[in-house]
Amino acid sequence: MAGSPVQVTGTVLTTRRVDAYHALTVVAPGIADRFRPGHFVTVAVGGRNSSMLTRRAFTIHDVKPDYGGTVELVFGVRGAGTAWLADLRARDTLDLVGPLGRPFPLPRDPCTCVLVGDEHGAAPLFALGDALQQRGCRIDFVLGAPSADRVFGALRARRMGETTTLTTEDGSLGMRGKVTDVLPGVIADARADAVYACGPMETLRGVTAVAVEFDIPVQVAVEESMACGIGVCMTCVVPVIGDDGVTRMVRACTEGPVFRGERVRFDDVGTIPFDALGAPGGRHA
């Protein structure tokens, strides 16, 4: 698929706030060149002498050809690492590794796709939407969040999508509820052929259930805690059913983060399913 990932010390070009989110554009030619929608990068946080050892993972929101290639990340402040990122200013440098992960697979033939983004999960959907539209696909957006300020990209979705449906749990924007509440209607109305989704596990589980109901393929990008992002540490695993029907604990960073939704055993995330390959006391152990 894409070439090898690279490490880049990039200069921050711009920083901006987008409602509850921060967007950082960083010069990173080697990463921008290889980008496919769904790729992510990991960034070092805290500067020299930081007590924070692990890189933070962020989906690439956008790439631009300026300055040889820039990548844009969109993130919410969650803990100390994202707080540090939010304090970066233009001309600071940022250490990135990427592009990482398995990007979204694209359909061969034009079809209708629903793109579901929950909170910052919306970030990768616009580059994906572009790629789909270039292949002649129709796209429809469903974006949601707990509240209006955390719905990311509504304007852009409205411009790009055939339809855009917004949901907030507090009803401050769009329909009151969750993306999964409105998804069946959107799929039915659009006569969608496929679903792409990005967001918390619980959302992806719900989206997958809906897609399975409609018997259409669904690609989900999962978010698991990652210590390395490059496939060496085995901390990011999720139980996924293989082509052979066997469940394995596979790495979200390299085999994923994009998986076929129905292959991910969402109910068993956070456990080792008893029938997984190598499960304690399991048939393969």
Binding site: P5, Q7, S51, L53, T54, I230, M234, M249, G270, L277
Partner: protein, 324 residues
């Protein structure tokens, strides 16, 4: 002139002293995207078990100040798949491969050693003794000199003469020297230290342990002072035994610290998660530091901090082991 960086694990020569730490370099393929695995002093595999293992549930990692807790639980495909799919790839690339093995009983370690015996492309066998002994209510082998020695002796017996056996020790014992001595008496050709001390983190928001497994192994720069101390103590007691030092190595300075304490090779673990080029970088930095200090050979720096340098003002006081 650049220093001669060759080092020896018992009689096996390595072109340079920078290794990957077990469980931190994947199958080798992942790191190969960033730099050649054959340029490593050696590639150390994650601990291989007899049967495939799914490991622990997630979350498997938690960050701590200058440290990382992990509870991966030896996830791996089992020895057969390893020999079929992973070792040949490493051999093709010209990597020197140290195979780490892990088991729950002496019998399992022995079976693994037997299975590896005679297989081409194995530079050394590292015995990960930080596994719970299922026959001793889960007490970790490395915390019990006798149990550790028994494992080492049986692996040594099952392993061809020309393949060194490295015993890998944990720091969370009352007396690391006693365990090291037991392993050497049991036949270990070299020692590796430190494996992760057991730690824990509690998420004050969920008010539950941050790791699904509760406890996990602590790694990274936070533990380096423990690693330096263990290497120092063991080298002082057993100066002839080659030591692979590890624990929080992120720079050439860190590597040199372990070398001066007595390690003839160093392994890089957690730092790889932050910097996939860490091994060649640490090697380059170490080389520069040795050169700056006028060393012709890495070997001359090994354990040097033990030898009181006459000219040094602080050397009057004797060095005792006590935190007081």
């Amino acid at each position: 002139m650049t220093a001669d960086l060759r080092t020896y694990l018992a009689h096996v020569e390595l072109p340079n002293p920078v290794l990957t730490a077990s469980g931190c370099g994947g199958t080798g393929r992942e790191l190969a995207q960033f730099s050649d695995v054959h340029r490593l002093g050696a590639f150390v595999t994650r601990s291989i078990t007899m049967a495939p293992r799914a490991g622990r549930p997630t979350p498997r990692m938690a960050e701590t100040p200058s440290g990382l807790l992990n509870a991966v639980g030896l996830q791996g495909p089992g020895v057969e798949a390893f020999l079929e799919r992973e070792l040949p790839w490493l051999a093709e690339r010209g990597a020197r491969t140290v195979v780490s093995i892990g088991g729950g009983t002496v019998t399992e370690y022995t079976a693994l050693a037997r299975r590896l015996a005679g297989v081409a492309g194995i530079t050394a066998v590292e015995v990960n003794l930080s596994c719970p002994n299922v026959e001793d209510r889960g007490r970790v082998f490395a915390r019990d000199g006798a149990a550790a020695a028994e494992v080492v002796a049986s692996v040594r017996a099952a392993t061809p003469y020309e393949v060194p056996v490295i015993a890998k020790l944990s720091p969370d014992v009352a007396d690391i020297v006693a365990v090291a001595r037991a392993c050497v008496d049991g036949g270990a050709d070299a020692l590796a230290m430190i494996n992760n001390p057991v730690g824990m983190s509690i998420d004050v928001d969920t008010m539950r342990p941050a790791l699904a497994a509760g406890t996990g192994g602590l790694s990274g720069p936070a533990v380096r002072p423990l690693a330096v101390r263990c290497v120092w103590q063991v080298h002082a007691a057993l100066p002839g035994v080659p030591i692979v030092g590890m624990g929080g190595v992120t720079t050439g300075r860190d590597a040199l610290e372990l070398v001066l304490a007595g390690a003839c090779a160093v392994a890089v673990g957690t730092a790889l998660f932050h910097d996939p080029y860490a091994c060649p970088r640490v090697l380059r930095e170490l080389e520069e530091l040795l050169q700056e200090r006028g060393f012709d050979r890495l070997a001359d720096a090994v354990g040097l901090a033990h030898r009181p340098a006459g000219a040094q003002p602080r050397s009057r006081s004797d060095l005792e082991e006590s935190s007081l």
